[in-house]
Amino acid sequence: MLRNYFKSAIRNLVKNKLYSIINIIGLSVSLAASILLLLWVWDELNFDKMHSKGDRIFRTAAAMGSTKDRVWEHTSAPLAIFGKEELPEIEDACRIQEYNNFLLFTYRDKKFNEKATYVDPNIFTLFSFELLEGNPKKPFTDNRSIILNETLAKKYFGSEPAIGKLLQIKNGDSYKVTGIMKDMPSNSSLQYDLLLPFDILAENRQHNPLNSDWGNFDYQTYFLLRPGASPERVGKQLAVIHRRNQPSDFFKDLIYLLQPLEKMHLYDVLGHEQGMRQVKIFLLVAFVILLIACINYVNLVTARSSRRSREVSVRKVVGANKSHLFWQFLTESSVIFLLSIIIAIALIFIFMPLYNDLSGKQMIFSLFDAKVWFLFGCTMIVILGAAGIYPALMLSKFNPALALKGILPGLGKNNGFRRLLVIIQFSCSIVLIISTLIIGRQLTYIRTADLGYTKESVFTFSAFNFTKNYEAIRDELQRQPGVLGVTTASQSVMNLMSSTGDFNWDGKPANMSNFIINQLSIDRNFPEVMDMKLVDGKGFTGTAADSAHFIINETALKQTGLQNPVGKTVTFHDQPGTIVGVVKDFHFKDMKTRIEPCILFINPYWGWNTIYIKTSGKEAQAALNSVEKLWKQYNADYEFNYKFMDDSFDEMYRSDIRSGKLFNLFASIAILLSCLGLFGLVTFTAETKVKEIGIRKTLGASVNQIILLISKDFLRLVGVSFLVAFPLAWWMMSKWLENYVYRTNIHAWVFIVAGLTAFIIAAITVCGQALKAAQSNPVKSLRSE
């Protein structure tokens, strides 16, 4: 029986090549696209899931304000120690500090700048990162130990054993390699290549021992809670411990939030969706793509069912019952799906490298991976359920006596159900077109928004030894061709990571005792070089008095409520000073974050680590050459790594840009699939109307009239789809835009463009086929009928 089913399925496929190709291409492309999307979703959902105790590990964040609106994902160093000692719910704690600047490591003639991370020694027992060589329970033998990942070990030592080798740093200290760890998986939020003992940070701090420094929130703290412990309760108790050790009004509202490690990637500290929104969107797109392909299949199979009526009837006449026919048609669908799977697998293999490149992930597609088959299984069940069973049921229900006469109530014509499916399909496509346009506009909005400073033709680099001779170097560089300005700051102005509560002014209200202000130490010419606008005051004077001068931003002014701020005395880190200017608000964090209060001040001892060079664009290369010449003179030991601010900016939104690109790609696939389905339906409609077209032409109908005859119904359905799609798209995109504090508006023209695009694409598909039918020779069509 099964053999017979397969035989007839394959012969039917071969006989109806065009429709088989439409079905198979549609299904295989949609399967491939959905699997690629699901692999992405899977990868996202499995971020940080590699730790055996992962469900009990929490990252600690400090929420300062009474409304928890100011959250700092770092804690002070002693919190881990006191928490572990005093709270029985805490089983273990691990602190991590990522050193912001590079350290120069030397081994024989090899010299590399590396980003070092200081970690507590229990990192390999609390987390499940794999230590290939060394003792996971005691990875550092002393404070001059170092752990490298495989990649670094190979870079320094090649194939030689790395354990026991010594790496030197600039100050002459040598670090002995005591462990080699496996490179951290790409779907881990924690990404470190080189680990140093956390205790190094405690060295030379006699005046302010690290483990009693409660005020410096500079360390990531991960707690391993005992099974059943409540993270909320632990968070509150940790705050109590903090306040007890550092009684201050500033911490009166302090609360610690324990965020599950496994949720770090997709949610913010407060549990709001971040990346999870993207995951949901991509899941939805995968579903829509499958839905469109299923609709194509169901539409084409049921439309063409009239062509199968005789066969079905004959089978019934010779003894087949409903279930025989049901299974026969399901087998046919399965054969098509099987072929589609094979093609889909080939497509995935072909496009996987490109897809990884586009998505910035390292997803692996292997047929030996159970997950892949799980995804295939799920999608196949969905497809087979949605697209295989319905046509099989329809076809097996024919009344053979009627079907042999060609009477098929409700089938073979443009019945209501099929119209509904076309409307659903085109509504999805129009929603996707609108979403593509709005996502594109938002990304453009972010990239072209006025940040409040210039980022065009400005490049930055780490200062290293330039810091010592900064002023001389600045003056020399300013004389070089192509250099329009040279300045420096303690951090990147794009992503300011330093803030303080040490800012006071006369009349500061009691309820603002925990007011926090972001701080950036700059060279006096920073506002001028970076084209920042002062809305009040004259700014820094270039005299020694500037060390007690401050510039605040508009938001700081607004929040502090200072009247006539210029000339007012404020205290910053216990030093009194004067406000000499108010700078127009500028974006020092990403566009998803509302602009916060900020203070600019001059203090070279704060580490002017980042140099900014403004060039004229055209002469950027000349400017780079000039810097490089000086670099060799002062920083010969270090690599010259510069970055244009435009690129750094794009990097900040890399994930959004990538998601946008992926969305465009998959939305295009969905739209093409819709058109493929429409093409199939129209071709079939034209086929069934061969006789009618012939008669009409014989009676004098023009080509245009015939095109209208075939097209009008379909185009009307596309029109109806607008009514469904527009409100849905508006609602969905409004929700999506809420993700951004600074966002574009949804304009009516977006809907008009999307509608026109969908209509034109559909019209080309429909009218192209209709034209072909209309131009056929009527004599031939009448004869064939």
């Binding site: 017979n4 010779v318 409903k322």
Partner: protein
């Protein structure tokens, strides 16, 4: 074998109801060869479809081998059909995607006859209708006469007690038509009951009895 009493059959559209068969009663005895004749639209094919359980009747009784089958559900009808009834149509109704052998084999598949047995029986019946040499051809590769011989082979392969033939020679020239009629006669001689709808007086002469219909009713029965 067949006893139909007071059979009513209507065709309904949204606006009109047409009486296809009106208080029709017939009997067919086991081993009989009955021809049903009448002008187009008189209800011959409808009657044949009802006898073959391909169509429902609206009122009346239909007994097949003394069992009331009028109210049989789809499954029982299909069971009764596959074990007892063979069909031959004017337009052959072979499945284009299956070869001659596979078309004839089909009823045996649905009655779950084992493969070896199927092969034997199909080959026997193909020999009988003299089409064995074309066993691997597809229907479109055969002449009309050959296709009808295959259709007859398919109708008899399951050794049905009843063969229903709807204008079996309608699409054939006289030579091929005669061959098919010969085949049916031989089957009848071997004990198979045959009910044949035809327009041809010539073909009807092969039967034992001719039932003449008009407007959904039997108007005359002639014994051949």
């Amino acid at each position: 074998m067949i006893k139909i009493t007071e059979l009513q059959k209507y065709y309904r559209t949204e606006e009109v109801e047409t009486v296809a068969l009106n208080s029709l009663s017939i009997d067919v005895q086991k081993g009989e060869f009955v021809a049903v004749m009448g002008p187009s639209g008189c209800g011959k094919s409808t009657l044949l479809n009802i006898i073959g359980l391909l169509d429902d009747l609206d009122e009346g009784s239909y007994k097949f081998n003394d069992i009331e089958v009028a109210k049989f559900n789809e499954r029982k009808r299909s069971d009764l059909r596959k074990h007892n009834i063979g069909f031959v149509f004017q337009s052959f109704n072979l499945i284009d995607e299956l070869t001659v052998f596979e078309n004839v084999e089909l009823p045996l598949i649905y009655t779950k006859v084992p493969a070896a047995e199927r092969k034997k029986r199909v080959e026997e019946v193909l020999e009988k209708v003299q089409i064995m040499h074309r066993r691997n051809h597809f229907p479109q590769q055969l002449s009309g006469g050959q296709q009808q011989r295959v259709a007859v082979a398919r109708a008899v392969v399951n050794n049905p007690k009843l063969i229903l033939a709807d204008e079996p020679t309608g699409n054939l020239d006289s030579n091929n038509g005669n061959e098919v009629m010969q085949l049916l006669t031989e089957l009848n001689d071997q004990g198979t009951t045959i009910v044949m709808v035809t327009h041809s007086e010539h073909d009807a002469r092969y039967s034992d009895r001719i039932i003449r219909m008009l407007d959904g009713q039997v108007v005359m029965t002639t014994v051949g």
